[in-house]
């Protein structure tokens, strides 16, 4: 099969061992070294085929990221392939990554010859049939689930006939600016050719042949790109320090250990466009002078791992990775390392320990990894999203990038918006956009039109922002000032039914479990903090003066201990662990007070404070609740109203779940 990298005729000298430096440009505009119409046509035909422009075929794209797969995309993929074959329609069925509209999964796009690529949402087998019947065979559009059209390039976006709106006009897309997600959901992530077709590896050629390493670093410094993993350290400066450091070997590591619960940005990028990250990494390696690299990826992301493996193998086979990349004399060897499930390994020194085969415990800095990292050699560590930005900056220039966002936080940020919003999924917005715009415009507001209560931003290290701060601009400094942090990009929206004390407890429970145990403030401190929270979410059963006094003291203790941990813990995980507590204490103090003083949970979420009662008028005495009660706290005769023994009740709520008559009330 002829690919973009195959020799067009015997005049082409490109091989894996002796790669041609013009490989990438030649693939798109070639042949460059000789003039031949037939060679040019060969390449052009291949490009058209990849681009969905081959008039012989109908193209079908099925969204097969983890969320699509979880929704059953594999079934639709197989069904579509079989049906197209049965109906004798010449077709190319492709698996693409996640487009980010998770609530619209399963997404299927269809591109017919000469017509734009149309995207359909929430496709089931029935809808798949309908799409085939009316759209593929008869050019009519089905009702109700057409999302919009996707422009593959500028030329065919002009061809849109007005029947279908561009997908950019969908509410969740309107304010987005896709830089990192430029290819996600559009191309087949397993195809190196498709990435190149969309302009991929052009930036690498530019960096290798037209720029000195220092110039690459300067471009990145000038662009103002800051680390997208949480801290926000200027990426170019990090590179500069590693370049300057002395060492026989240098390493670059891509931190893809996305352990933040409720965040899946990195996973989607790795699944949807692995090459963008790898290209960024090779450019970074060239800039700092590293010849070896690792991608440290969570073992819980099997699909991302497989796609990375495929990408690395393809690159090696085409002379874009390994010895003498594109004949430039620059060597770079890339390996995958699987994380084994430890949140703390997102911290760079812990990550290094883990790659070395040890327990992932952080060590004090300095020395920073830039001077002494993996096995003591200078090491540069960047996050997935940071690296995916790099090729675009090199390709389009620092000025282009700087024009997006705010002066101190340039570019875009990808967020995983989840929780109680109508639309959930992956969005990429320019920095400086307000939280309100994200939640109420892109997110479509809250489900069932409930009242907004808080947005948790930044995961276990971040904080909860209340409705008063909805107009906070999303950039590193404003968020820090508000008591949250950018974090990796998790954004969980909560409504009035969420208890903020419970949320704080949830995050503390997480950090307590994930604390590596090396330093005392974090190991013991988080456990004590959690203990305090446990006491206030349960009622005081002794009800004596002494026990109540103890209960009232907890509020002061909570705050004091939180600050001690913040000031004394050894690494980022410990220092930021109390943030969820501190930010909820700051903005939702009355909720804590209700728990402590009134022993009442306003959101009715803290089970320890609830009182369960059976309404005798509604209870029919079926006995299901008594059977489901784990502690035998429900008694009563069959066909007669039951009642709950308050002292025995564990407040688990199992009875409420299973009562067929809604006879159990909670107060």
């Amino acid at each position: 099969m002829f690919t973009l990298f195959s020799p067009c005729c015997e005049k082409c000298t490109h091989t894996q061992d002796n790669p041609c430096k013009d490989l990438i440009e030649c693939a798109l505009r070639g042949p460059l070294c000789h003039d031949s119409q037939s060679c040019h046509e060969k390449k052009q035909n291949r490009l058209n085929f990849l681009n969905g422009e081959d008039p012989k075929y109908t193209y079908v794209y099925v969204g097969m990221g983890t969320c699509g797969m979880a929704a059953g995309a594999e079934k639709i993929y197989n069904y579509m392939s079989k049906q197209l074959e049965k109906r004798e329609i010449p077709a190319v069925v492709k698996k693409v990554g996640c487009f980010g509209l998770c609530t619209q999964e399963i997404m299927v796009d269809v591109k017919k010859p000469g017509s734009p690529r149309i995207s359909f949402s929430q496709v089931t087998i029935e809808k798949a049939n309908e799409i085939l019947d009316i759209f593929v065979e008869h050019d009519a559009l089905p009702n109700g689930y057409v999302l919009g059209s996707i422009a593959m390039n500028e030329e065919n976006s002009a061809k849109l006939n007005g029947q279908v709106k561009p997908i950019e006009e969908h509410p969740i897309m309107r304010k987005q600016k896709r830089v990192v997600l430029r290819n996600c959901g559009i191309i087949d992530p397993e195809s190196l050719e498709e990435y190149v077709m969309r302009g991929g590896y052009n930036a690498l050629s530019t960096a290798l042949f037209k720029l000195k390493p220092e110039e690459v670093i300067n471009t990145i410094i000038e662009s103002g790109l800051r680390g997208r993993g949480g801290g926000g350290f200027p990426t170019g400066r990090k590179w500069f320090f590693t370049r300057k450091a002395q060492g026989d070997r240098k390493f670059i590591i891509c931190n893809a250990d996305e352990g933040d619960p409720g965040a899946f940005m990195d996973r989607s990028v790795l699944e949807g466009d692995p090459h963008s990250v790898i290209e960024g990494m090779i450019i970074a390696a060239y800039a700092i002078g590293a010849n070896e690299g690792y991608i440290y990826v969570r073992a819980e992301y099997p699909l991302a791992i497989n796609r990375l493996k495929k990408a690395i193998a393809d690159l090696e086979a085409n002379g874009l990775l390994g010895d003498n990349i594109l004949g430039s004399g620059f060597n770079f060897y890339l390996k995958l390392k699987m994380g084994a499930g430890a949140f703390v390994c997102g911290e760079e020194t812990a990550l290094i320990a883990s790659i070395e085969g040890k327990r992932g415990t952080p060590r004090p800095r300095p020395p920073y990894p830039a001077n002494s990292g993996l096995w003591g050699y200078p090491t540069n560590i960047n996050n997935v999203e940071t690296l995916a930005n790099v090729p675009v900056i090199i390709g389009k220039g620092a000025g282009w990038f700087k024009a997006i966002g705010t002066p101190r936080s340039t570019g875009t940020k990808v967020f995983a918006i989840t929780g109680k919003t109508k639309n959930s999924g992956l969005i990429e917005v320019p920095m400086g956009i307000s939280l309100r715009e994200i939640i109420f415009e892109l997110g479509g507001g809250l489900q069932d039109n409930k009242k907004f209560k808080a947005a948790q931003i930044g995961g276990p290290s971040g904080g909860c922002l209340p409705a008063e701060l909805l107009d906070t601009a999303i950039d590193y400094d404003s968020l820090q000032k508000a008591g949250a942090m950018m974090g990796s990009g998790g954004l969980v929206v909560m409504d009035e039914e969420t208890c903020m004390v419970d949320v704080a407890k949830f995050f503390l429970n997480f950090t307590k479990n994930e604390s590596c145990g090396k330093c005392i403030p974090c190991r013991e401190g988080t456990a004590r903090l959690l203990e305090i929270l446990e006491t206030i979410v349960n009622s005081d059963r002794e009800n004596t003066e002494a026990s109540l006094l103890k209960r009232y003291q907890t509020l002061a203790q909570l705050e004091r201990l939180a600050y001690v941990i913040k000031d004394t813990a050894a690494c980022g995980l410990g220092q930021t662990a109390p943030n969820p507590v501190l930010s909820t204490l700051k903005y939702f103090k009355e909720e804590y007070q209700a728990h402590v003083f009134e022993q009442h949970c306003p959101a009715k979420q803290c089970r320890g404070l609830l009182v369960y009662k059976i309404d005798p008028n509604r209870c029919r005495g079926c006995g299901i609740c008594a059977k489901k009660c784990p502690n035998g706290a429900i008694v009563g005769e069959r066909k007669h109203s039951h009642y709950i023994v308050a002292d025995k009740c564990l407040r688990c709520g199992a009875c409420v779940e299973f009562c067929p008559f809604d006879a159990i009330t909670v107060n």
Partner: protein, 167 residues
């Protein structure tokens, strides 16, 4: 080899070749191979059998205590065999906010075990996982890798019945 107990012979009998091959793909004394070896061992057996840990210790020249330290540090590793079906309840933020805790509770009371344990029948192992990344389907449970999303506690119990019926 003297440190290995007698049961190791049975254990190794079936998998001998796979384990040998696994060791051969790393060089002796290569310290950074520890985590990949443990991961692959777990891929073969479903957990980390003690005799294999001793073999690993000898092969990589790492004291067994250190290996135990690593194996217990990371959430991924298990020192006990798992049941036929592994139930993973997502404990991510989105799932928590949408009632993931109730799902876990329903499973715990239905199976009569706590998270991290295996039923006596050996059929189900219940565990929690930090985040499966399928937040739009919250709350999510996977059984044997199959995703079940937007669950209610009642549905989870029904789901278990379906799996029990298969047996």
């Amino acid at each position: 080899m003297s440190k290995i107990c007698c049961c190791s012979k049975d254990l190794l009998a079936g998998q001998d070749e796979k384990i040998q091959k696994l060791f051969r793909s790393y060089s002796k004394g290569e310290e950074n191979a520890l985590i990949p070896i443990l991961q692959e061992t777990q891929g073969i057996y479903g957990y980390l059998p003690k005799p294999i840990l001793y073999l690993t210790s000898e092969y990589l020249h790492i004291p067994i205590g250190k290996i135990y330290g690593v194996a217990t540090f990371y959430n991924q590793f298990r020192l006990k065999p798992v049941g036929k079906y592994l139930i993973q309840v997502c404990a991510g933020t989105a799932c928590h906010v949408r009632g993931g805790g109730l799902i876990l509770q329903a499973l715990e009371s239905e199976l009569g075990i706590k998270a991290g344990e295996t039923t006596q029948s050996g059929l189900f192992t219940l565990s929690t996982v930090a985040c499966l990344g399928a937040c739009s389907m919250a709350p999510v449970v996977t059984i044997d890798g199959d995703f079940h999303g937007r669950l209610q506690p009642k549905e989870v119990v029904k789901l278990l019945r379906d799996y029990e019926m298969k047996e």
